[in-house]
């Protein structure tokens, strides 16, 4: 009973707090990027200013369906995050997460603009790249803990990273692709230009782009939350450790973003499957043997 309330609070905190946290993380990322390049960079709250501006712009609709699809994308993203933080079934959570990717694909393809359509198919390829790692991860959680139930997974005595280092590695790799960090920002880029104008967001303006940004903030908090699960155990110190690990990973991602050029999608596909197969696969085999 006590725990149920605890987890319900987790979900509510996520739904209310994730946009703010995600926005701050987005701002910190831009600021850190700028500092790495020797620039002063935008203020920390820049993503918020952008968001408010986007809501104030005239709505130019390329295709009316896009708003509906993007809203579904956002709702599903919030749902998968809330399911995760409220300690639901992990397998289900990751399945809902995969569905969100498909909605983004539809949102990009309905305006039938050449740039946006091409980016949409690239978004599908991105999904093909990160999906195996994410799905295998739930298998890894199952083998390590004997359940798909997130609550049981969250409250282990030893940190899961001890059993699942390979899964963590391939998950982090998948995260780079999922967050569209350079070199794997083939479908859309956070930075000024892309060879496909703005990738999947080319035909999203004003309100629609704001929705997309909001979903990205939710996504970011969710993905970093999954990393924390590897570190958390029943002791309180692990919470601090998890936050620290998240911060280090955040820094590394910005560094990778700033030091790598975009790769071709073929390379991304090959590389991501190789990493997933090697790290997750070997880890999986070892787990199956010792269990």
């Amino acid at each position: 009973m006590n725990h149920t309330i605890f987890y319900a609070i987790g979900a509510v905190l996520y739904i209310v707090g994730a946009p703010f946290l995600g926005c701050l993380m987005d701002g910190a990322e831009r600021k850190l990027s700028a500092r790495m390049q020797g620039r002063i960079g935008p203020p920390l709250l820049q993503p918020w200013y952008d968001f408010v501006k986007l809501l104030n712009k005239q709505v130019v609709t390329v295709d009316r369906a896009q708003f509906f699809i993007l809203t579904s994308y956002l709702v599903l993203m919030v749902m998968s995050g809330a399911m995760f933080f409220s300690g639901n079934d992990l397998l289900m959570t990751f399945f809902v997460l995969s569905t969100t990717g498909t909605f983004l694909y539809f949102a990009a393809i309905v305006p039938s603009s050449p740039y946006s359509s091409m980016a949409a198919s690239r978004e599908l390829i991105q999904e093909v790249c990160y999906e195996p790692a994410v799905l295998l991860l739930s298998v890894g959680f199952y083998l390590a803990t004997g359940t798909f139930n997130a609550r049981a997974v969250f409250s282990q005595n030893t940190s899961l990273v001890v059993f699942l280092p390979g899964f963590l590695a391939s998950y982090l790799f998948a995260m780079i692709i999922k967050l569209r960090i350079s070199p794997f920002d083939v479908s859309t880029s956070h930075h000024a230009h892309q060879e496909l104008v703005q990738g999947v967001t080319t035909e999203m303006g004003a309100r629609n782009l704001a929705l997309f940004k909001l979903a990205e903030w939710y996504e970011m908090v969710f993905l970093y939350g999954v990393v924390a699960v590897f570190i958390l155990n029943s002791s309180l110190v692990s919470v601090l450790a998890a936050i620290l690990v998240d911060l280090v990973i955040f820094f590394c991602f910005v560094l990778i973003d700033n030091t790598n050029a975009r790769v071709k999608w073929e390379n991304m596909l090959g590389l991501s499957w190789a990493v997933t197969g090697l790290c997750s696969g070997v880890n999986l085999l070892i787990l199956m043997m010792i269990r």
């Binding site: 935008p42 203020p43 408010v52 501006k53 809501l55 712009k57 000024a192 999203m204 303006g205």
Partner: protein
Amino acid sequence: MGKVKKSPWLLHYDGSSCNGCDIEVLATLTPVYDAERFGVVNTGDPLQADILMITGGINQQNAPVVKQLYDQMPRPKVVVAVGTCACSGGVFRECYNMLGGADSTVPIDIYVPGCAARPESIMDGIMKAVELFQKRSDEHDQYEKEHKGEAGPVDPNINTARDKVKMQEMKGAADA
């Protein structure tokens, strides 16, 4: 509603120029001048842009392109002409194919002179554009507030203050 001036996204179009101003605009966005500290993002997408920055003059070939870019930008929007070429046609003015400066095709709000325009003055132009951007947004909100609950305009595609005023003027002219 809200401050929009903290997030001006630029769309840069280089017309018929010597590329001098083009390079200066890029310089404005590099670490030395760092326009991003004012929230400026150089986007390539007219649908997401707030400020259209034109360098170089307009000729027969690029006139429709510039016009289309301008039309594709959602309101409120501001147009800045950077460099003598964009302001008046500059050294290319007398060429047989030239129409003139950028204002021969789209309405220009801010003129940034110089051949080439220096990054400092380009920044200054951007800052002026940002103020205008905020002003237009405020005017629109003010209008909406004053005319709340009134019957909307006839054309569902027309929804800014300026368009409504224009519609009324046209109606008045037709009545007279």
